[in-house]
Symmetry: C2
Subunit: 246 residues, 2 copies
DNA sequence: CGTGTCTTTGAGGCAACTCAACACTCGTGG
DNA sequence: CCACGAGTGTTGAGTTGCCTCAAAGACACG
């Protein structure tokens, strides 16, 4: 396992050039709740952080002092059992918020899947800001509700779908999220490894690999590279998934 | 399947005698956020509803017009696949709130496991009340965060635990929740059927039954009745569960 | 060019599922 | 009072499919 190598944080700094106004996730993240002229207040408490792939952002059990918006890259959120079994509960994409479910301490570990950039906010100052701008609070609640729905979708996938169905629905969700970010639906880019996918879907890497092969042999997808999935027959893939992705 | 028999609501009425002040879940439910003298506002929009076992409270897809606090009994929240496979994502106990994750329409079906009593609130009036009492809003957000954490715990259980481990952790969680309600920890009362447990843990009823037998033969539990579980060796049961319940 | 990581594929075993039968409880009605 | 049927839970036998173990290919990096 490579991700145990480092728990160090990346370099932090007041972002010199990238202002919130020009941010790539300005319309997706928490900040979407604020008007342009209100952004300064958020930017004043914001610290931009770059983090390398496989590095830990926050660790389960640590005091929850900062919350984050992911602006680029990808994070995995996971819980680990004493014997090493791991369950990834979510992949965070740009615009997503880190710290939604946590109370006084983080209850899951967050690691960067690839090099990522985060906006960090001190919890205390964020709380003050939410009192000042109630819409910020409302937006955060909405994002928590969305996360809850996603977690419950995941429960269905983990509990009742067969391996191929799990993978099909996973690919469709990724495809949808790519589309939401303005990228094309079809060549789905898998930033995570097969191990990550397995630990997200409750499978072994071998079963994940075999499921990819099955979908490929059925002509539903193509795999030009291991991390590039071309969706050939979306309708059939949806049928295999058993569920209509939200 | 018996639960398809009825989608009718129980009788609704302004509760004549039971006032919020004397409510059994006054300190656990949303209303815990309000002072005694503020309760009247909540009670004014509240409609108490009795619902029989197996009856549907809200159905997936319906417009979310009312939200509820469960005051007695038990609900199951579930999603169903077109082919009949079912995943129960949560069991709601007295004090729990129904409608946390939903936006404009319910995204899961809620059914009564046993005869239950609910406090119903029109969404529009509840929203107005939350503006008037910000603490109500905060409390609801906190409950959503708790639900999110529970859903993520469930993801771990579904994705990475073996059947016996799943059942052990399920029993421990129920035991804990009983204790929170002031009841004894040990004879855990299982209001739901084996089918419900199976659909919650991602197993078949036979595997659930065999797992009960395994725990019993190992001397960790006793089963005087099918719905009564005496926890004999809590430490060993926790070890089997693999996780420390929150 | 060797080393390490990641992915895929193959072979075999075991555990959970499927199918089936039986025990038990609880109503209902003869 | 007992026979009967429906619903629920347990147990057994057999099968399927996922996991385990193993190996080889692909690729990046030093």
């Amino acid at each position: 396992m490579a991700q145990e190598q480092a728990a160090t944080s990346g370099r932090s700094y007041r972002d010199p050039c990238g202002v919130c106004l020009d941010c790539a996730v300005r319309r997706q993240a928490v900040c979407a709740a604020l008007e342009d002229h209100e952004l300064g207040a958020l930017q004043a408490i914001m610290v931009s952080t770059r983090i390398g792939a496989q590095q830990t952002v926050v660790e389960e059990g640590q005091p929850r002092r900062r919350v984050f918006t992911l602006t680029s890259g990808m994070l995995r959120l996971y819980t680990m059992l004493p014997d090493g079994r791991r369950q990834i509960t979510a992949f965070l994409l740009p615009g997503d918020y880190l710290g939604l479910g946590d109370e006084s301490s983080y209850d899951q570990t967050a690691e960067a899947v690839v090099d990522s950039v985060l906006c960090g906010f001190p919890v205390a100052e964020m709380d003050r800001l939410m009192e000042r701008y109630p819409r910020l609070q409302l937006r955060l609640n909405q994002m928590t509700r969305i996360a809850l729905r996603q977690a419950r979708d995941s429960q269905l996938i983990l509990g009742r779908l067969a391996p191929v169905e799990k993978l099909a629905s996973f690919l469709l969700v990724l495809s949808e999220r790519q589309a939401e970010s303005g990228e094309p639906e079809s060549p789905v880019h898998l930033a995570m490894t097969r191990t990550d996918i397995a630990d997200y879907l409750g499978l072994t890497i071998e079963t994940v690999s075999r499921s990819f092969t099955k979908l490929r042999l059925q002509g539903l997808i193509q795999l030009p590279e291991a991390h590039q999935v071309e969706i050939i027959d979306r309708r059939a893939l949806t049928a295999v998934a058993g569920i209509t992705p939200r």
